[in-house]
Amino acid sequence: MGAVFWKELADHLGSRRFFLLSLIILVVAGTSVYLGIQGFQQNPGAAQDFPYLRLFTTAPGALPSFLSFLAFFGPLLAVLLGFDAVNSEFTRGTVSRVLAQPIYRDAWINGKFLAGLATLGIVVVSIVLLIFGLGLFALGFPPDGPELARLGVFLVVALLYLGFWLALGILYSVLFRSTASSALAAVATWLFFTLFLYMIAGVVADQVVPVRADSPAEAWLRHENLRDFILRFSPVALFEEATLPILVPSYRGLSLLALLMQPGVPTNPLPLGQSLLVGWPQLVGLLALTSVCFAAAYLVFMRREIRTS
């Protein structure tokens, strides 16, 4: 499997596709963080608790935070690394040559998956390091222990999330014979989960629990809960819910509305373990989704005939 891993990793890192997408992520992430730092300089009070974590979750003005940005664009990078992993080997006619060598088919797929994951890891880690660098430059002091621990956990969760999308891309590359179809399916899925599901959730919630500005608070809450429930089917929402408690230490898994309705809920930061518990179900959900994609890709590929004509 090592041979497959190193070859695929070299392919990824040298590909134009990877270069362009990481460039986009880098530029936008850099900009939003840069603006965040400017916000600190105008309002030094905001830099009091967990300033480094804030760099990841808040952004001034209309720009999305780094977190939402990663939740939105990260999948595109991941899914594009995987969508032609297997079917392009069929169209190039390399698959029968490679699988006539003494390696198992699952080792081949695993090597491809791990190489993709390593590539994503390199991107995410270098962006986080870049943000650290910018922060150090602007704030003048390094992140403290709890912040580093939380960022470490965040990195692992982010990789798990991107790993899901990579596994989905690889699944499509096994299911579809042509790379054009698998690319289309991959981008469609991405759009569905990042955009359409949010719209659908809103529309359904409006239909089932109609609310107006003067509706009672309970109606609003039910409306919100229904919407959140539908969104739980999206890995994007799962990721955001799983990472918010990690990056926002005072977050307790309640919406702003719920907080308003239940005065007296403390807003002081939770310890890391407690924060993890808040996002635990979402984490397990993400892991399950990734495993399902992977298992499906295995099942389809293991017994497929390796014929290139």
Partner: protein
């Protein structure tokens, strides 16, 4: 027997690709699997390699079962697919390097084997060029090098000469023969051109609709087709005399004063005598070698 298959059957949703095929190849043999398009050559090869599973039947390759021990088989067998593909942006050497790594061959040894294999197939000068710049013939030869770096006990080559000019094909076949003679490699190659591969194959098997319709040495299969002759300056009298004989199976006028005839083997002396007596000339007299097509047809009639 390095390859042994009994009663192989393969069905694709109602299409019967193999229909009870038996195959046995001895060590050190060059065996040609012949047959028209769609006769089941590639399917047989995929089953031998464990790249597809037979619907029924038993297979052993180098003493292992490709379905249950695919890795043991793949360690010993080199395979060149019919549409051989490479990583286009990598060079010839890099493509081969990937294969040696997948086989766990140590780097130093791998470098030596790759250089040697590229030398053998005549690709040394282009070793570091990306495969994207290779012609079809060069790719085909690189496919052969890909098999060679593995030093397999058995090489399975699916249409190694397809789409290659006659001279290139002859070179490839000579190389295959040399490898067998020098390295003791067993070779199974498929083709639909009997005349091209008959020179190198010790034995051939002819497939049709998933069945072995004939098997044996090339000479045995192509023998007993009678003789063909062409006669010039033939007078009408000569023609009449020839047509009266039993051994002249067919007489045909192909040009002014020129006859083409098919004759049985025992008619040769008489033909020469008749032609001399009537003032004609024998332009050509050769054994009639049946084409692959004729062999198929002959075996179907039986």
């Amino acid at each position: 027997m390095i390859v042994e298959a009994k009663g192989l059957k393969k069905e694709y949703r109602g299409v019967r690709a193999l229909d009870g095929l038996d195959l046995a190849i001895a060590e050190g043999e060059i065996y040609g699997l012949l047959g028209p398009n769609g006769s089941g050559k590639t399917t047989t090869i995929l089953i031998l390699l464990g790249l597809t599973e037979p619907t029924a039947g038993a297979v052993r390759v180098c003493g292992h079962d490709p379905v249950r021990e695919p890795l043991a088989v793949k360690r010993l067998v080199g395979y060149m697919p019919e549409k051989v593909g490479f990583y286009e942006e990598l060079s010839a050497v890099e493509n081969l390097r990937y294969i040696t790594r997948l086989n766990g061959i140590p780097e130093g040894e791998a470098r030596r084997r790759i250089a040697e294999a590229l030398e053998q197939v005549g690709l040394r000068e282009v070793a570091h060029r990306p495969v994207a710049t290779f012609s079809h013939g060069m790719r085909q030869r690189l496919g052969l090098a890909d098999v060679l770096v593995k030093r397999p006990k058995l090489a399975i080559l699916d249409e190694p000469t397809s789409g290659i000019d006659p001279e290139g094909a002859a070179q490839i076949l000579d190389l295959i023969r040399r490898l067998r003679d020098e390295a003791g490699m067993t070779v199974l190659l498929s083709s639909h051109l009997l005349h091209q591969v008959q020179r190198v194959c010790d034995r051939v098997g002819i497939l049709h609709r998933g069945r072995m319709v004939a098997e044996g040495r090339v000479a045995e299969l192509t023998a007993s087709g009678g003789y063909l002759a062409r006669v010039g300056r033939a007078s009408p009298r000569l023609r009449a005399r020839l047509e009266a004989e039993d051994w002249a199976l067919a007489v045909e006028e192909v040009g002014p004063g020129e006859l083409a005839l098919t004759l049985a083997e025992d008619g040769r002396p008489a033909l020469l005598r008749f032609v001399a007596e009537e003032g004609g000339v024998v332009l050509e007299l050769r054994p009639k070698q049946p084409t692959l097509e004729e062999i198929y047809l002959r075996y179907f009639r039986e």
